[in-house]
Symmetry: C2
Subunit: 376 residues, 2 copies
């Protein structure tokens, strides 16, 4: 089987790297941001629009797809790619994070996790093996292992428990993954999730245990769950030390534009976050001068384009005043324009980083960006 | 000034006609359906997508635009075309219908109508002259006169009052229209609204009084407000008799696909209706076999395209099962796909009628369509 990840350029001044993820659904240039399509659709956007961002990968969620439409429908559709008419790659989150963050009943044992559906209260049981099976049916190019993700305010004891269970589950998950085959013929990669809170020793232990599995990629979990920003970045820095250099690193659920730049400089290759899409629906737009909220009264008569930088066609042809009106009247078109703008901003940011790493200018560029960009 | 309306073909067997409305924002082939964009946006769709339906005209609403964003913003934007980045023609409803159908305080005098905003309860006063002024600022190609539109269950006395006030207001509106000039340089046409309920004598009287104004187009108001379908069609038939043959007739707020075919055969040239857009957001799709509701459980595993007829790209590439999932998970993409489908169905239907009238085959085609199409 061909190699999953090729590093093209490693920055001399930071841990940043530019590379390519090779999938049977096309190549993905890294560092990359993965748009989130929880239920098999990136909110407000069509598959074609995601391809045109451009993005060659999107994220969906195992837990949510398992509940709706269910594995039977996905299997009959021939997998999620076919179901949602998406030609690019798909990464599916296991749903562990959802099970541990949604309100309601859940019980973790060594075997797995029992929980109630947030939709109808029905009881379900996930094991590391079952999560692999479901993602085989979904047909995701990148499958995530079932992990235990403690909340941001969890204590040390909880981190240790989460780490230990995550390791046990990862071993079982990897075994089951090796013993099973893709259903639709294309390659699938199973990614273990490093836990350990913001404790260096625990992060080291989790990395060592999971690296024994010789997975093709590693995810950094349990961050961006409420911990202080500097602790998050410090932890990402440790991960750079503990994880193999030649394998892609995926920082789950991160983050702001500044977080992305800071984490790329600490050696992260893949990101996903609901921020660009969720904030868009609240009227918040990311720009190179920082965030603006289009609902603000000052935009009522601002007839300048939403953005002149040319990375979003809709933001070039529509004015801030018009977008303000669309939000005031709760028109869906407003959510579409804002979502496309934010996603294109994120993709443009990743493309800029790829280019600057290739040019050997990443450190200066990152410093300038972080100085100019208001992260508030 | 060049002629507004050219009739290209008059059907020999019915009152149907195919023609062209000439506006400074392009030609519009008739009979035409006008997509509704109440607040300056057709719900879920971009201006570009409306142009690609294809439609060269859309409708917006004077009352709603007056309240939000207000005439000051529209004027600063250089009119509604510029504000919403729409190159085609615009027809604006006066808002009379909204004032008379929305719940809340309103008082009609000879001078005009006083009402409270449905948004904040603030009091406003519309006169026939003011409605012309607002539409001058909006810059609509087709401006509607302020009329009194009684509800479907109104009595004869109410119809007479509505008719008399509508005539008085139309005279004042036309006088003011003639005394004022377009603000943005393009031609505007003011359209009076015939009232008179479903009473032949009143419809005749209203037509005679308003035809004295020698307007360039006439609207048929006060229908599709709850009266029986056969009375509506009978009234449309009378209107064909009472209105000048050489001027375009616009049947306001109508209707179902069958209503459109029936009314075209009775000499109507222009239609608008929220049905394709509103029903789409409830999951109801118009097809050539009748209506379907995509929320229905039977579509959960129906992997056939939403529509194979090729008139809607999104309906060709996405399956019914996927659209079902989007509606079940309340994804905005679902509303977009359904809206585009329904609007394209309506436009395709109008284009079919234009072609059949030109071919001299309209009557047979209409009979076949109505026999095959379930209007339930």
């Amino acid at each position: 089987m061909s190699q999953l990840f090729t590093i093209k350029n490693s920055d001399k001044n930071t841990s940043a790297r530019a590379g390519i993820l090779h999938t049977d659904h096309g190549d993905i240039s890294t560092p990359c941001f993965i748009p989130v399509g929880t239920y098999g659709a990136v909110k407000t956007q069509s598959s074609e629009e995601i391809a045109q961002l451009p993005s060659s990968v999107l994220l969906s969620n195992t837990y949510h797809l398992y509940l709706r439409p269910g594995t039977e429908v996905i299997k009959k559709a021939g997998g999620l790619h076919s179901f949602m008419n998406w030609q690019g790659a798909i990464l599916t989150d296991s749903g562990g994070f959802q099970i541990f963050s949604l309100e309601g009943y859940r019980k973790v044992t060594d075997d797995g996790v029992t929980f109630r559906s947030h939709l109808d209260g029905s009881e379900h049981h996930f094991t590391p093996e079952k999560i692999v099976d479901i993602q085989r049916i979904i047909g995701s190019d990148f499958m995530m292992m079932l992990d235990v993700c403690p909340p941001g305010d969890a204590d040390h004891e909880t981190w240790i428990d989460a780490l230990n269970t995550t390791t046990k589950w990862a071993k079982r998950g990897m075994k089951h993954f090796i013993e099973t085959e893709p259903i639709y013929g294309h390659r699938q990669t199973l990614i273990p999730v490093i836990q350990g809170g913001t404790d260096k020793k625990l992060r080291k232990q989790s990395s060592e245990e999971l690296c024994e599995l010789e997975a093709d990629a590693y995810a950094i979990g349990g961050l961006a769950v409420g911990e202080p920003k500097d602790e998050m970045l410090k932890t990402v820095e440790w991960m750079d030390e503990f994880l193999p250099k030649d394998k892609p690193r995926y920082l789950m659920g991160v983050g702001t534009p500044a977080d992305l730049v800071e984490s790329v400089s600490r050696g992260v290759d893949m990101f996903d976050c609901v921020m660009p899409t969720r904030n868009a629906r609240n009227g918040q737009l990311f720009t190179f001068d920082g965030k603006i909220n289009i609902r603000n009264a000052k935009f009522k008569t601002d007839f300048s384009p939403i953005d002149k930088n040319g990375f979003s066609p809709m933001s070039e042809i529509y004015t801030k005043a018009y977008l303000h009106q669309l939000f005031k009247t709760e028109e869906i078109l407003g959510y579409r324009i804002a979502t496309q703008h934010n996603l294109r901003f994120y993709i443009y940011l990743m493309n800029s980083m790829q280019k600057e790493i290739q040019n050997g200018n990443f450190k200066t560029w990152a410093k300038d960006f972080l100085a100019g960009y208001s992260n508030s």
